[in-house]
Symmetry: C2
Subunit: 334 residues, 2 copies
């Protein structure tokens, strides 16, 4: 259907090598350049990347495997990433594995069959077993948001400093005299959950506060989970004086639950939330929160992957981005 280099060769009388060189930025005689360009527009020639991929053994495609596509935390990252990758002529093949390890594993094989040059993965399976085939294939792997300890030095990663982010938030509360501080976390087996818990514990211990399991809830990173966690925490005696919620959806759920219980913020309870400056801004303008730089995560990921792609020998790196504590008016001294 589409025209090929052969068609161009016939049209211009030139050889394949000359044409190929022209399209790959080599220098050709001026009069041939003109000849080629005329033929290109006459025949509507466009290079066939599939053939090119087969020959060069580079698909100029990267596979992106994520746990959820309809989550703006993830898609803002992907969006920034895709932008940079496509600028370098890399195609982004996405696969949403719905937080299902089995699908995730299939997705890896799917990507390998298509011979992607690299793999970017926000992992669902915390063991990283699904990545073994990609490691065998020898393509660069980049994790985002979540590390996998058993894969250190074999993959790169872009994450935020979860321990420090959480510690900073909780220290802010302890510094103001709070000692009964509630914590709402995601699923226990997630990397980010564990780090954010560690940061919380660090902060408490740093202030000589004995951690109390009854102040901690696991809310699955969903709005519903945040809502229920708050309802459950409100039963506690002695009451909490402060609360730290560790992702966007749960913060939303928690705020709604608090609002409906008639809890005043910060008079009755100091609250620090997580993520999405731009969305919370209009909805809860006074909320103090930890903000993750999604754009930077996406850009760093793309840059790191592009670097691994063009320097096949390059050592793997872990890039840790820091978060920002955005001060609102939802926290007050005890």
């Amino acid at each position: 259907m589409a025209s090929t280099l052969k068609d161009l060769a016939r049209e211009t009388g030139l050889g394949l090598a000359t044409l190929s060189k022209y399209f790959n930025g080599g220098s050709v005689r001026e009069k041939n350049r003109v000849l080629i360009e005329a033929a290109v527009s006459k025949l509507h020639y466009t290079p066939n990347e599939v053939a090119r991929s087969l020959k060069t053994q580079h698909s100029r495609a990267v596979g992106v495997i994520i746990p959820e596509l309809s989550n703006t935390f993830i898609t803002s990252i992907i969006s920034a990433m895709e932008d940079l990758l496509r600028q370098q002529n890399y195609a982004v093949i996405v696969s949403d594995c719905r937080s299902d390890p089995a699908r995730e594993k299939e997705a890896v094989q799917f990507m390998l069959n298509r011979r992607v040059d690299g793999l970017i993965n926000m992992p669902t399976d915390p063991t990283g077993a699904h990545l073994q085939p990609a490691l065998n294939a020898g393509i660069p792997i980049l994790l985002i948001d979540r590390l996998i300890s058993s894969l250190m030095n074999r993959v790169s990663a872009v994450v935020i400093d979860n321990v420090q982010a959480s510690e900073q938030a909780v220290r802010k509360l302890t510094a103001l005299g709070h000692r009964r501080i509630g914590l709402i976390l995601g699923s226990p087996n997630l990397y980010t959950t564990q780090c954010r818990l560690a940061g919380y514990l660090n902060a408490l211990l740093g202030s000589g506060i004995e951690p109390d399991d009854s102040c901690i809830r696991y809310g699955d990173y969903t709005m519903e989970g945040g809502y229920q966690a708050v309802q459950s925490l409100l039963q506690l005696e002695p009451r909490l004086t402060a609360l730290f919620v560790t992702n966007f959806e749960m913060t939303l759920g928690a705020m709604l639950a608090l609002q409906r219980s008639g809890i005043r913020i910060p008079e009755d309870l100091s609250v620090i939330g997580f993520d999405k400056l731009e969305l919370f801004g209009p909805i809860f303008p006074d909320l103090t929160l930890i903000h993750q730089p999604q754009q930077s995560i996406g850009r760093e990921s793309a840059a790191l992957m592009l670097n691994l792609l063009s320097n096949p020998g390059a050592a793997h790196r872990i890039v840790t981005l820091s978060t920002e504590l955005s001060e609102g008016r939802s926290v007050r001294p005890l």
Copy 2:
């Protein structure tokens, strides 16, 4: 690096054709099947889809070009779509053109260079000029969410019945006696904006109400836009008694503005919103709204595309899905 059919041939002593047949579901002698499977696992063979694509002239990839990746209305559609396409072994290559027609045009060419078998597009350029190269290439094109009138019969589409959705919402208000009904729309040049305006006008005229331009605002489909539109509409004299907001983000913005102005719903104003049952549910549980079936849009799109892909001659179809009016408590008789 990776092993090839040739390697398998050497290992098993079989010919290429036999191996190829085996991998494409043909029948081979039982003892050869065993032989092949042993060799496959020994050599870690995985078929090279790039080579296959070149040979068959089918990439088994579809390009998805959208105006925004960090928008859950869009990504819930893509998510459902990608799921079905990957099940049929189609790769989904995404490109976020940031609502920029120039990028959108580049994205089309990018996809064509990669020889995608089909293109799915939520169009930014309402003229459809960017799709011309894809039409020339003869690959199936599927529009989602927005039609392009000049391309009728040359592309397929999956849309919701915007006129009917809007008309239904506004008729509900007129039936209850409302005559001063505010309308908040997206950008004037968008297909959906025009349809939703048409539905509004139909409903008013059906009740003998003279439309009044001063009741209509264009809010760019953003939360900020919805917020400002409400502030502007609140100045009107005589006052509105009802309001219809035509997408998710603007509904959110409008509700916040109303809440902050101390307007009681439905006592002071009847309100009907748009989209996202599941998110509004927890936030504004009593809101009456028009709900678009995103999952169905995604599934229908995938099914339609798969059909076009396997029946190259198939005629283009426009699939119109209907919306659902979810009754809350934000509307009352005048």
